[in-house]
Amino acid sequence: MAHQSDLIESDIEAYLKSHEEKSLLRFITCGSVDDGKSTLIGRMLYESKMIFEDQLAALETDSKKVGTQGQDLDFALLVDGLASEREQGITIDVAYRYFSTDKRKFIVADTPGHEQYTRNMATGASTADLAIILIDARKGILTQTKRHSFIASLLGIRNVVLAINKMDLVDYDKAVFDQIVLDYQAFATHLREDGVVPFEIVPIPLSALKGDNIIEQSPKMPWYKGQTLLAHLEDVPVQQADIEKPFRMPVQWVNRPNLDFRGFSGQISSGSIKVGEIIKILPSAKQSVVKSIVTLDGNLDQAIAGQSVTICLEDEIDISRGDVFCEAGKPAEVANQFEATILWMAEEPMLPGRSYLMKTGAQNARATITVPKFKVNVNTIERLPATKLELNEIGECNIAVDRKIVFDAYDDNKDMGSFILIDRLTNATVGMGMLRFALRRASNIHWQATDVSKSTRSAMKTQKPAVLWFTGLSGSGKSTIANLLEKKLTAMGKHTYLLDGDNVRHGLNKDLGFTDADRVENIRRVTEVSKLMVDAGLITLVSFISPFRSERQMARAAMEDGEFLEIFVDTPLEVAESRDVKGLYKKARAGEIKNFTGIDSPYEPPKNAEIGVNTAEMSAETAADHILLTLEERGILI
């Protein structure tokens, strides 16, 4: 691995000394298979002498076996990692490459460029300081060029290299290069007019295959006076701005080895901090003074953005993971409703009203998302109406979280304004987002405390309030059992209310249909109504098909512990269909009703229902008695 420097042989100590001072640049390469992206990366690794002889030998063998360059080296083979990709000849995921020159260490996020890989590109872009957007000189600006530019700017990348590749195939013609640059600048102006933050654009003509203008100035293009690609990457200023911004440090971990030491560990997101300075701790808004900045290498007087440190304070304040240390005069914001840009990353679409987990910095919260205000066509940057977000779609949404979150707008501070969304059942990362600003609505409506409480109301009724949530297929017997049970409870002098799916759809939910999104909203509303009923001290019977596990989980989470009893009316589809009391199955089978649960819309059975009844095996009467018994056992009837 022969680095350029002659110092290695002559004076290794001096070489090491000079390399301690190297900086780090992370960049992403955007382009599709045909643009020669892998070839470019392979070429950079090769030119910076990061390829060992044994790897080179393997490359020579591979090039002959599966390469696309005849007898020449196929540099793309160096970077196409996984076996399945090599067979298909495409790159399918994000891969990271490393090389360094005498000035800098580089981390390259290599991501595929097709539209179906928007999420992969966003992943690579999330940690990049710079983006190289590849353009095939023969083809000029394409739809994908626009897409890549949009995503790069969305993720806050400020430096863009327009790598106009395959110049060898257009005879190194200056006119071709100039035209592409002109076209791109027109497009970039268009982007700016659309409010997308502008970035610096540096166009470079090159041939990754032949090595022109990669590391050495190409003799074939004497008309190009700018820097070579590698020279530009070595010199472009890496964001210094973070240090200039107000101080922020999310508390990651409370460091408490013994009673005498209490420190708060975290990585500084922005700004700098000195011993003796005043900080504000959010969300509590308490203030304290920095007593010490502790590291294994000794205490520091000062620490700056990017460093992982442990801070001790002068005052004993209750601080836990997720709190954020801020510059006292310029604190971050605290809110529980936001406008945000979301990129959806899962096969299953983002459903408005469904509850997801949100992680931002060291904070975790439960989040629900409203119907998108619009989604963006990533190819034309047009805004389109949307009711949900599908895989790889980007939209502007409002988000509500169940607790106060400390944040800054993403454009001001990436660490403080970025978040991921996690599916609560599969634990998959399903979305990524950028916080734009807080919505003030929620903070202007305060909870009105009332003197008569839920427990007072229910004690008067000699019962504990509860939600008896009946779920099951249409025709499974939910309403019949719920009706019988309510009669029995009333006969015992209990105070009840029965919310029936069909009945609620006649009024409150009249505007909702049967798409997945509407089903989620249907359940969200009935959950809120049940909550009010429970607050009134009532035993509330809810008889809804409620086909999705996550919405039932949401309803459960909205109630207090022990208040929610899930009753699975577990009647097999064949039995329910054979009954077909309302004639709905017949219509669904005939295609007259769409999205019918059990036919062309899924039913997700409960995994941990408190009570299970099966009307194929027991009568509705027996089922109602069985539930009554459970209520007595659980002390709900007192």
């Binding site: 900086s23 490393y98 260490k105 975290g266 990585q267």
Partner: protein, 300 residues
Amino acid sequence: MKRLTHLQKLEAESIHIMREVAAEAENPVMLYSIGKDSAVMLHLALKAFYPSKLPFPLLHVDTTWKFREMISFRDNLAKEIDADLIVHKNEEGIVQGIGPFTHGSAMHTDIMKTEALKQALSKHKFDVAFGGARRDEEKSRAKERIFSFRSADHRWDPKNQRPELWKLYNTRKAPDESIRVFPISNWTELDIWQYIHLEKIPLVPLYFSAMRPIVERDGTLIMVDDDRMPMKPNEKPEMKMVRFRTLGCYPLTGAVESEATTLPQIIQEMLLTTSSERQGRMIDHDQSASMEKKKQEGYF
């Protein structure tokens, strides 16, 4: 104040990753292999939690064929930093007498390393295990996430990896799954050496050149570390000035002839050398995608 250097940035990133695990995992463990990457990882962990003790134990999977110097180094270090060290050996494998000379490198590695690791993780119910792998080591690793999920039977599914955005790590998992976390993913071999040099991190002496008893087999220089190595006719250990670029089971780790006895000399040799680090490891040689296959099967 001036900007951070590349090593300072890498250090801060690794510390951030370790603290996320300490804060969010229930029962984490650090896999400690005694090699240079493990040495750096352990050093970073000491920094991450100082002045607290390491909030997790160290786990060493001992195949019983490690260099003796590795074992004594490990035990001394654990004592010195007051770490909770768990050493796990595959007892069934020992009873069956599994070894590289008798069963070949593939079977030995599978039973005494891969199997043993799975046993240890299952036995102690560790939900997160730190590993010292780097993405620059090998092509299949270039695509692996920093937080890499394993199914209940410890398998890796490269097609089904979670996207990893910014520095927001999703640590949620099903009860029977586990996570491998690679805090030094973004370090290169040169970074590792430079950091060891700068931070004066102690290393097993085997990395430095010395006169050692060597037998040459199929072009590989094997150090005769104990009398379990069967000699072929005409084979006689010869004293040679050698060192090791990676450490593992002594019969499976090739030495290189070298005069480098100091860190700067080692780095100098590495920078001038012409073959990649894993070449000394026999496990990769079988076929080009062998590491990817092994990883899918549960080899860390």
